[in-house]
Amino acid sequence: MELETKVYQKEGNLRIGKLLKESLADIARSRFLSFQLAKRDIQAQYRQSYLGIIWAFITPLATAFVWIFLNNSGTVRITDTGIPYPVYAFSGTLLWSIITESINSPMASTNSAKSILSKINFPKEALVVSGIYKLLFNSSIKVVLLLIFVFFYGVGFHWSLLLFPISILGGVLFGTTLGLFITPLGLLYKDIGRMISFGLQFLMYVTPVVYAIPKSGIMKTIMELNPFTPIILTARDLAVGFPPTYLTYFLIVIACCIPLFFIALLFYRISIPILVERMSA
């Protein structure tokens, strides 16, 4: 039987095709590992808590309630969104929480696996994939809650709702790609992680999360350029049965994300040995 041969040396292998093939082979080989890691984390998370699943959507729910209150009490005046405002606000904060969670996911998964990374050689891609599994699990719970909102406020069923999960997948892909690019630097410097969560707070206000894009002005330009906008808007339009106005931009963003995702994955793969060397065990 021919034995698999591994060579470790200073010079990196930069033939993208070969690297990508190895990377994908590793993902395929580590299917069970990624599933098991996700299962472990989810199990552990809920076994040590009574409220369990509630924590997954308490933040977007709270943010939504704040805005619903601000709107109803007349503190802030929000332009008509075409659907009941609670549905608008909650779908926004919920989609936003899915995207931010996706951005943080690769870094969080890698960080929590630090001690194994410096001791055992296993396909690192499994960490990313297990992160995606966890995202999909959390997101599906949030989606169920959103559906309750949609029906409770009388928006009703539209066939486009069936496409809604695909737009969620798009959001997860977008966030994970961004997160993967940040991860290597973020693991070296803690500043990066803080900067990201800090920056995201502001980014939320230039994204149509809790209010619609204004009809004119500088805010309109910024919001329309912001690549987070089409993700949120398309997903929301599909959920409530509006024709998705930003569909083209959404498709462009997703089309860019697919190759970028694989590039980020390779970047991640190359970076891990360098990071393990610098990380504490």
Binding site: Q9, K10, F32, Q48, I116, S118, N121, S271
Partner: protein, 399 residues
């Protein structure tokens, strides 16, 4: 001849002493990692070679021991062999499936039960779900914790965790096995079990073994590298010689007083009729006479005390004690000196380095007056390595 499974050529690795600098170099390395990394690596400020120019080859069925004091670069070498970090120069070629016993029980989540964690750990070690399903009963039996298998791992003792971890890892069938100092935990029975397991896989495997326990190294290794500050200072098949060299690095000629009541002091001790010296350690050949000359100064003492002179080996195990003195044989020749020679003929201690401790106590009631460790050391020379402390002179005849 079996095939070569591990081949290491001129391997070097550098580390940085300063965290901030190290992180910044990390950023630079990330950038150069993306461009293929073809530049010659030289030491940047605040860096040092953690491993320098190590080369070796290992075939199936062989076991290489890596020894050296803490920080000699052993674990770093293992990490490179395991593909966790990349070398800065040189090349490693490894054939076949690599298993590493560097950390047992990786991926355990403390809240989950032992059974669930077998799946977690197994997945990280590269098993499939089917393989684990098939082996789970075997794993539980090997770990001997069936009773507690559904209890959360956080309630396990550290020994139980290691047992479970090893039981999972023992199911690997690697071509190359890398073992770091993991077996030190766990009770004796379990350590023996582990070694039995390692013995059974050794013929099919090339093993790299790091340990500070020389008996273990000499038991399973047939090749050895002694490392110091990242460099190999001894390499070859003469395991015994490397172990000797390792021990001589720890010999200190400092004697220390553990206890004294001030009534008597050791002034001088000397080994007589020695064969030679190496690094100030007197040498004797096996079968020579061991002759020690003592000189004590008496500060306040009326009667001749009892001298208990014992010999310790390099692992600080007591191996022998001289018969105690009888009163008449030593006399107070001067008012404040005691001098005497004690001799043991035909020394049968086996090859190695030994040190001498002494306890001086009152003859009448054994009340201690002076206790000193490491007052002298000597080396016994012989051509063969023996692990037991004595090599008994023997004659054989047929009956």
């Amino acid at each position: 001849m079996n095939e070569v499974l591990i081949s290491v050529e001129n391997l070097s690795k550098k580390f940085c002493k300063d965290l901030k600098t190290s992180l910044w170099y990390g950023v630079k390395d990330l950038a150069s990692g993306l461009s293929g990394n073809r530049n010659e690596r030289e030491l940047r400020p605040k860096e040092f070679w953690a491993i320098k120019d190590i080369s070796f080859e290992l075939r199936r069925g062989e076991c290489l021991g890596l020894i050296g004091h803490n920080g000699a670069g052993k674990s770093t070498l293992l990490k490179i062999l395991n593909g966790l970090i990349n070398p800065d120069a040189g090349k490693v070629t490894i054939k076949g499936r690599v298993g590493a016993l560097i950390e047992l029980g990786a991926g355990f989540n403390p809240i989950l039960s032992g059974r669930e964690n077998i799946y977690n750990n197994g997945a990280i070690l590269g098993f499939t779900r089917k393989e684990i399903n098939e082996k789970i009963e075997e794993i539980i039996d090997f770990a001997e914790i069936r009773e507690f298998i559904d209890m959360p791992v956080q309630n396990y003792s550290s020994g139980m965790k290691v047992r479970l971890g090893f039981a999972v890892a023992a199911q690997m069938q690697p071509d190359v096995l890398i073992i770091d100092e993991v077996l030190a935990v766990g009770d004796l029975g379990f350590v023996l079990k582990c070694f039995k397991q390692i013995d059974t896989i050794l013929p099919k495997t090339a093993i790299v073994f790091v340990s500070h326990s020389m008996p273990m190294v000499s038991r399973i290794c047939n090749q050895i590298i002694l490392m110091d500050r990242g460099e190999s200072i001894f390499q070859g098949e003469d395991v015994g010689k490397a172990i000797d060299k390792y021990y001589t690095r720890f010999v200190d000629n400092e004697s220390n007083v553990v206890f004294t009541d001030g009534s008597i002091d050791l002034e001088d001790i000397e080994l007589l009729d020695t064969f030679g010296y190496e690094k100030n350690i007197p040498q004797l050949r096996w079968g020579d006479n061991l002759k020690l000359a003592f000189k004590f100064k008496i500060n306040s003492l009326v009667a001749i005390p009892a001298f208990h002179i014992s010999i310790f080996d390099k692992e600080q195990r007591p191996v022998a004690i001289f018969e105690p003195n009888v009163e008449e044989l030593i006399s107070l020749n001067d008012s404040d000196r005691i001098e005497f020679i004690v001799e043991h003929k035909n020394l049968q201690l086996s090859k190695g380095i030994y040190s001498i401790n002494i306890v001086v106590s009152k003859m009448a009631n054994n009340e201690p007056l002076l206790r000193m460790n490491g007052i002298a050391s000597f080396q016994v020379l012989h051509q063969t390595d023996t692990w037991p402390p004595f090599l008994l002179k023997s004659s054989y005849q047929s009956i």
